[in-house]
Symmetry: C2
Subunit: 220 residues, 2 copies
C-alpha cells in the first residue's frame, strides 16, 4: 500500500529529530546509551539482571524498559537495585524517541555511566527507530536458529554488538555459532559477536570488557 | 505521536475491506485459510514441514510464505511437495491482505483444502492485520518463556489455536506449560492449546485432529 510510504517517512523524520536531541543529552552527561533489541524471550532482561548485578560496583547503570503491557521486566531489573523506568507502549511494536524523552524526566543522567534501553521484543520494527543511542545491541537466542541474521537483516546490519544467548542449550538444538556469525558479519563486518549464557553466566566477561571500554570512550 | 493514529486506522480499514474479499474467496472455494504467527524461530516452518508431510495423503494443502527477505522457508516447504508462494515484504513487519490477493493469482484454490499463510516472524504487528483467515494459529516456543501471553496479549487473545512448540527442550528451560496455558486462557478462554515438538513429532496428533475437523467444518 504505497500510501503508507510518505507517512512512515514523516514519522521516521520526526523521530530522527528527537533522537538528535537525545544524542546531545547523553553526550553532555557522558552517558553511554545502549538500545537493546531482540525477539521476545531471547534474554534481554536476563542479560540486564546479570550485568547490573555483576558490574554494580564498577558502573552506575539504569534501565528504561519498553513493553506492550505489564511492568514485569522493570520489576526484575529493579530487584537488582538499579533504577528502572517502565514505558508501556499499549500495543506499539517499538520504542520511539518521544517516549524516551518523556522517561528521562524521571532520571538523573548526571548520576549515570550507562543507560540501557530495553526495547519491545521484536526483531523487525525497533531497528527503524533511532533512540539517540551510541550503539544498538542485539541478542539472538540459539534456540531461534542460525539463519536469523540472513532472514531479519536490518537489525543485525545496524548493531555494534551481537550476543548469541542461551549457549547452554547448544547441545540440544541445531545452531551453528560460526554460521550465525558469518551471516551477521556478511551484513556488518565490524559487529562484535559474544556467545553467552545469561543463565549460567558463561561468556559474559568479553561483553563486560566491551561495555567498560565503551564507557571509557564516552568519558574521553 | 498522535499523528500516527488516524493514518494507522485508515491502513487497517483498507486492509479490512480486502480481508473481506479474501474471506469470501476462501468460502466460495471451501478452503480453510489459517494465519500462522509467532516470534522469529518459534518453529512455524518446522510445523508446516511436519504437517504437509504427515497429512499429504489426507488433505490438499498449500502455503503462502511471508518473509522480509530470502525464500529459504518457501524452499523448505516446497521440498515436502506442497505448493509454496513466497512474499518478500522488503523489510515490512507483517503480511497484509493486498499481498495475499496478489499471491492468490498464482494459486488454484479449487484444488485445495487448506491454505496456510506463514506470517513474518513477529509476535506484535501481524495480529493487527486480518488476512481473511478462518483462524489465527500462534506458536510459542517454550524457550521464549511462559510469560509471553501476558506480555504480548493481542496475538494470543485473537488466536483459535496456540501450539507450545519445542517441548523436547522443557527439561532444559524454565517454562511451566500450565502457567502459559493459564495466561493464554485468561485472555482467550476458548483457545485450543497443543504442546508439541516439531523436532520429535511429539504431540502433533491433537493438532492434526483439530485441523481435519476444521476442514470438515469448512465443507459443511
Amino acid at each position: 500500500m504505497s500510501v503508507t510510504i510518505p507517512v512512515i517517512r514523516n514519522i521516521l523524520e520526526a523521530n530522527d529529530r528527537l533522537a538528535g536531541q537525545l544524542r546531545n543529552t547523553y553526550a553532555e552527561n557522558n552517558v553511554l546509551a545502549l538500545n537493546l533489541m531482540s525477539s521476545p524471550g531471547a534474554g534481554k532482561t536476563a542479560l540486564l539482571e546479570r550485568t547490573l548485578t555483576d558490574l554494580r560496583d564498577e558502573l552506575r547503570m539504569a534501565v528504561i524498559e519498553g513493553d506492550l503491557q505489564t511492568d514485569n521486566d522493570a520489576q526484575r531489573v529493579a530487584a537488582t537495585g538499579a533504577q528502572a523506568i517502565q514505558i508501556n507502549t499499549e500495543g506499539g511494536c517499538h520504542l520511539d524517541s518521544s517516549m524516551i524523552l518523556e522517561a528521562l524526566k524521571q532520571m538523573d543522567l548526571t548520576a549515570l555511566d550507562v543507560l540501557f534501553i530495553e526495547n519491545v521484543g521484536n526483531l523487525v520494527c525497533p531497528a527503524e527507530f533511532d533512540l539517540g543511542e551510541k550503539a544498538k545491541v542485539t541478542l539472538l537466542s540459539v534456540t531461534e536458529g542460525d539463519d536469523k541474521p540472513e532472514k531479519y537483516p536490518m537489525m543485525f546490519a545496524q548493531s555494534k554488538v551481537l550476543l548469541l544467548n542461551k549457549i547452554d542449550l547448544l547441545p540440544y538444538v541445531d545452531f551453528d555459532v560460526d554460521r550465525a556469525t558469518r551471516f551477521a558479519r556478511a551484513l556488518n563486518p565490524e559487529i562484535a559477536v559474544f556467545p553467552v549464557s545469561c543463565r549460567t553466566g558463561e561468556g559474559l566477561e568479553p561483553w563486560y570488557a566491551w561495555l567498560k571500554e565503551a564507557v571509557r570512550a564516552e568519558r574521553r
